[in-house]
Point group: C2
Chain length 114, copies 2
Amino acid sequence: MSPASRNRIARRQTRAPVFAALGDETRLLLVAKLCRGQPSSISELTEGSKLTRQAITKHLRVLERVGIVHSIRAGRESRFKFNPEPIKDIREYLDLVSAQWDEALSRLKAFVEQ
Amino acid sequence: MSPASRNRIARRQTRAPVFAALGDETRLLLVAKLCRGQPSSISELTEGSKLTRQAITKHLRVLERVGIVHSIRAGRESRFKFNPEPIKDIREYLDLVSAQWDEALSRLKAFVEQ
DNA sequence: GTAATATGCAACCTGGAGGTTGCATAGCAT
DNA sequence: ATGCTATGCAACCTCCAGGTTGCATATTAC
């Protein structure tokens, strides 16, 4: 197995938390806002939400823990910024899963046809 | 906005559960096994795990509820089979997120350089 | 200097996720 | 006919995710 491929499979433990972080509508919304490029403060991200500022803060910390966003304190506000790496990683993982399924289908097809 | 694109964004509510279903190591392992093509029974999928058959069953039902797998009863056993659609859907969603981020970077770059 | 703003921290509540055990039941093997 | 095998169902336990409220504190605005 190639080192890269081994890496992709071995890091399954580190990927589950990333999926889990995306497994919540509120957090998907936050990601959707932040991936547009504009770093935002907690108050800004709370605007328009039905949730408390504290609730939003907790969600942001969850995203931060897995690296999907990171925060920088600027004066009295902390600005959150999107970081594409973790999502890139699980995208590749999902590609691998799909590829494996396609291969399996091909093998089955070849077997039936021969 | 194109209908397809609107659809991708509007269906955010239906995607969070799919991410959540993948947000567990045990379930990622099950997906990894099943995407290889071979439909498997609960007992087969339990082999090698430290968990109970019932625990594995619950995980399989979680995956089934979001459509990542589906089961067919065959005699006394029920065989679980991988279904690629939900994963294909969230793959496209992640592609969209990444694309939006890249666009934002490009705009920023263009702005700085002009 | 003082008031308003943006966060952080902590305590607390509730529901559901993830596991287990025990028991019932339907198919298979012999 | 009978015993092993594969599941289903239900009750129960523990822990943590997701929310809230209240209060303290650091910045910024006037």
